[in-house]
Each structure stands twice: as structure tokens, then as C-alpha cells.
């Protein structure tokens, strides 16, 4: 079922917000205001937005090192995200996490995570908590094709399938694990085919088609809420930028391959869809939406830069909970 026109507008807004946020985050990283590194999700926006559009606020997700998109799709606050990238006291993690560890437990975002496959067992445990609570909440693991070759992927799905936990495993197959192509490390091209080994549905969707992703997620969520257990969804997609924004980061991907995927840009594709289905969204409306997004991003940078750094002695706070 198609989302409502209003919802589609919101999904489009989120996709463009992710893109603009990361364009700014990479620019500011290269300019020196943001530390460490930044991993960009640009090109994959339809995957996170399509899945999160099928979720409620209290549903939980977990992300990867490439986490900004999932944060925004789940409804995270831009100011607090940008302030975290800038290492400020007002950031989501009070400047202790940075780009790779943004979390917002109040909206069910259980964190970006620097360990490939590390988040999969954690969100499976959130799924166990959801089952024990019995309120119909679901939990979603976002991870890449690289993580699908690691042990926790298999261990977690086996447990979730055996206990019928309300978890949706979303493999965002961008086809490159850092600099290594999935084809050189993975025996079969489709990660979703592995679902058969656990007796759960394995769904392949075009990860650059936000409506297709949404529809697959809606079905998986309904199944999870009904107590029928997990689903493995593989969204076939591609990241436009290098693995990280580090200057030293090499990129072995063929230029033609990157350019071919840029032609499959999920955002114009979604705009075309909205226009063909609803006859709405004029160029002027789209420009206005993009302008508002850019203004919000600019405001988040202003907020971040105006925020204080944490006092050095705060380094010893939060090691333990009270």
C-alpha cells in the first residue's frame, strides 16, 4: 500500500535532509570543524527512509558506522546531531561519541556503532525486550553486506527465528565492504537467500526505490507485530562517496560503476513517482522544500558552533550510571 501524499512528502523531505546534512558534514569535516571521520550514506537514503516510514516512534532501530541517515529517518534532532559532530556539550552524546556513535534512546535509535555486525545482537536483545513487554513494538537492525558475512548476523537471526522475535534485519547491500567488493568475499550474490537457512522470509528490494522499500518493511513489521517472527530484507543500493571522508581513504571502485549508480539517484526517482501518482510537487515547491532543508542545516551548524565544548573534567562523567 502506498503511503499517503503527506507521508510521501515527509519521506522525500527526510531523504533530501540526509543528503544535505551529509554534504554539509563532509564539507565541514574537510574544513576542520568536525573531527575523526565521517561516513556518508549519500545514495542509500531510500533504504533507511523507506524502512523507518513503516515504524512507530517507540519502535527501535540500530545503525552502523554509516548512521546519520538512520538517525534522521527515525526523527533525530538535527541540532543535537550536528553539535555531536562538532564535539560540543549540547550534542547527543555530550561530545563523547561523534559521528560514529550518535544515539537517541528517546526515539528508539539505539546508536550508530563502529563495529561491523556489532549492533545486530544488541538490537536482537531489544527485540527480546519487545517480546517480553508484549506491546507490539518491533526492532530493526540496519547493517551492510560486510556485516552479513560476520558471525553475529547468523547467530542473531537464528535466535530471532527460533524465538519468533519481532525483529526486521535490513541488509543495506551497497556492494562494497570498505574497499572490498561483495563479489570477492561472498559466495552468493543475494544476502536475502540466506533467510531460507533460518526458515524466515528473505525479501530483495530495489534499495533506491523508497516506495518498494517501504512496502517490504510494512509487511515485515506487520509480521513481527503479529508474533510471526523476523524477516530479512535486502535493499540493493550503492554509496556514492568513499568508505570514509578521510583524505587517506582509498577507493577502488570503478568510476563507471559509481557514475552508473548516480544515474539511479533515489531522490529524483521519488520526485518523479510523486509527480506521476499525485500530479503535485511543482519545481517551485521542491525548491522551497530544499531551501527550508538547507536553512535547517545552516541553523544546526550555527547551533553547534555556538555551543560550548564540554569542560575537560567531564571526560570522567558517564563512565558508570548511578
Amino acid at each position: 500500500m502506498q503511503p499517503s501524499p503527506e507521508k510521501q512528502r515527509e519521506m522525500l523531505r527526510q531523504m533530501q535532509m540526509i543528503r544535505r546534512f551529509e554534504e554539509r558534514a563532509s564539507d565541514d569535516f574537510h574544513a576542520g570543524g568536525i573531527y575523526g571521520t565521517v561516513h556518508c550514506y549519500i545514495g542509500e537514503e531510500a533504504s533507511g527512509v523507506g524502512v523507518c516510514a513503516a515504524l512507530n516512534r517507540d519502535d527501535q532501530i540500530i545503525s552502523t558506522h554509516r548512521g546519520h541517515g538512520h538517525c534522521i529517518a527515525k526523527g533525530a534532532d538535527l541540532n543535537r546531531m550536528m553539535a555531536e559532530l562538532y564535539g560540543r556539550e549540547t550534542g547527543y552524546c555530550k561530545g563523547k561519541g561523534g559521528s560514529m556513535h550518535i544515539a537517541d534512546f528517546s526515539i528508539g535509535m539505539l546508536g550508530a556503532n563502529g563495529i561491523v555486525a556489532g549492533g545486530i545482537p544488541i538490537i536482537t536483545g531489544a527485540g527480546l525486550a519487545a517480546q517480553l513487554d508484549g506491546t507490539g513494538r518491533v526492532a530493526v537492525a540496519f547493517f551492510g553486506d560486510g556485516a552479513s558475512n560476520a558471525g553475529p548476523f547468523h547467530e542473531s537471526i537464528n535466535i530471532a527465528a527460533t524465538w519468533k522475535l519481532p525483529v526486521i534485519y535490513v541488509c543495506e547491500n551497497n556492494q562494497w565492504a570498505a574497499q572490498t567488493s561483495a563479489g570477492t568475499t561472498t559466495a552468493l550474490p543475494d544476502i536475502a537467500a540466506r533467510a531460507a537457512g533460518y526458515g524466515i522470509p528473505g525479501i530483495i528490494v530495489d534499495g533506491n526505490d523508497v516506495i518498494a522499500v517501504y512496502e517490504a518493511a510494512v509487511e515485515a513489521v506487520a509480521r513481527a507485530r503479529a508474533g510471526e517472527g523476523p524477516t530479512l530484507i535486502e535493499t540493493k543500493t550503492y554509496r556514492w562517496r568513499k568508505h570514509t571522508e578521510l583524505k587517506s581513504q582509498l577507493d577502488r571502485r570503478p568510476v563507471e560503476e559509481v557514475e552508473a549508480w548516480k544515474k539511479k539517484d533515489p531522490i529524483p526517482r521519488f520526485i518523479d513517482h510523486i509527480r506521476s501518482q499525485q500530479g503535485q510537487l511543482t519545481d517551485a515547491e521542491w525548491d522551497e522544500m530544499d531551501g527550508q532543508i538547507l536553512a535547517e542545516i545552516e541553523a544546526s551548524v550555527v547551533f553547534a558552533k555556538a555551543s560550548p565544548f564540554p569542560a575537560p573534567e567531564k571526560a570522567l562523567e558517564d563512565v558508570f550510571a548511578d
Binding site: C93, L110, I122, D133, P152, E155, I159, A321
Partner: protein
Amino acid sequence: MKKISYAQAGAEAVAEEMRRDPKTFHLSTDAPQGLLKEFGSARVRETPITEATLTGMAIGAAGSGYRPIVNWAQVTFAFVAMDQIVNQASKIHYMFGGQVAFPMVFRAWVGGGRNRAAQHSQSPYSMFMNLAGLKIILPSTPYDMKGLLKAAIRDNNPVISFESSRLLDEVGEVPDEDYIVPLGKAEVKRQGKDVTVVAIAWMVHEALAAAEELAKEGISVEVVDPRTLAPLDKDTIRASVRKTGRLVVADEATPTASAAAEISALVTEDAQTFAALKGPVIRVCALEAPIPYTPVLEDHVFPDRRKILAAVRGLVGKK
């Protein structure tokens, strides 16, 4: 007071805390049948042998309002879960800026003396002590076992309960009523004035036996049991050394970068305590080898009361 074993004390602690708090649940391979019968299969999960994923699941459930208890069985298997322990459990509260608490307990046997060879006779607690963000208990008696484990389950942080495999059948008095032993509090197990022996787990019993024998020779030994390895109770340990002026640290782990090394350092780096020392700090630990299987070799590698006796006699100048 009743008399129960160290293993029973641990089981009672878990059952009582699960009765007390409906947010607790239990994950382990081979679910304890008593727990399963009392609390049912929703809260007492019989799991595949996947320590890494069980550990990660505990983190996710803890961050969602639960108090999971995971039994790794032996510390050997905790190594399979090292990513989740090191990269996730110990850091997740901090790196997310303290947004929510992650209360969870992991239980594992440590120690040798059971002829189980290299893999299943390890005492690697210092590897975990090195991680800021974890609390670690290691009880030496049924009383401490029950009280510390109950405190661990009520704590709002990840706590590892290391439990000595040599002491599982050790019987001791335990109160009938509810009690806890607070984390981070050492106990002076025997008062003395000439030498302090800080001893861990099974070595507490060896130290007490040595102290009894040394008393006959006119040497008064104070035995201090840290009970919690992280955070260590520096004050009690230093106070004892300031009183006696001599320190032996006894542990069945190997000495390099160990709990015994840490205890030695916290005594010697404190100026007032250092000034009170009348001799070198002596560590009585395992020899530096993987633990061998056959008894004659295993007994040679592990420290025992005879080595404590020799260390104390040496410190006070008696042969």
C-alpha cells in the same frame, strides 16, 4: 543462619532477585531447571551456544529497560564474546553520553585446580579490569557470593561476576533474610599486625590457613579479601598495609599485568603507604605458563599456602 555451598549461594541470589524484580531475565545454554520451573521459559531462556550474541542481546535488552543475567558458564567462553564485552558493554553508556543505564550481569567460572588443562583453567580477570566501564566481583565465600551477586544484579551497570571453580562446593553460613554485600568494599577476613596478605578468591582460604600456621610461630597475619576487583577498595588495602608495613599479594592468576600487579601498584604509589613499607611487596601467583593438565604439573604451576608461608617468613626474616 543456614549453611549452603558457594554454588547454591549464587543460584539463590539469582532466584531471589528474579522474584524481586520482574525486569530480570536469564540467558544461558542448559537453563537451570529450578529457575526454568519457577519463572517459565519466557524469562529463563535456553539458548544456543553463542556467547557473543547472548552478550550483545543483554546489552540491547538492558538499554530497553531490562536487567538481564547471562551465564557464560566459564570465562573461556567469554573470549568468544570479547567484541561485545570490550567494544559494546564497557563503553556504550559512556559513548552515548549516559542517555540510559545498561544494567546487566555476566557470570563465569574462573580458576584451575580441577585438571581441566589450559583452556578451562584460566583466571584472566585483569584483562577485564583494564576496561573502564565494567564492574567485577570475585567472591571467596558463600556469604560474599550471594551478597555480591545480589548487589551486582541491582547495580545499574554491566557487572561481571567471576566465580572460583575451586570454591563451588565450599560450604558456609548465609543469612536467611535478604542482604547484599556492597560492590567496591574489601573485607578484612582475619586481623593481624605483622604482614598483610591481600588474597583473591580461593587464595583467601589458603591465606587463612597459612595465617593459622604462622600464628603458632608468633607471626600475626592480616588477610584482606578485595571481593570486588573493579572498583578496587584502595582505602582498606592501603590502611592494612600502613598498619602492618608488609604486603604479600596472593592470586592464582599469572602475575604479569595482573590484579596482583594492580594491588601492588596502588600500595606503592601512595606516599603514606609506601613510607610504611618495611620490605618489598611480594606477589604469590601462578607460574608463567598455560595451565597444564596432569596433577603433578598443575600443582607445580599454581601457588598455594606453602608459597604464602614462604613469602611471609621471608618478609619477616624467618626461614
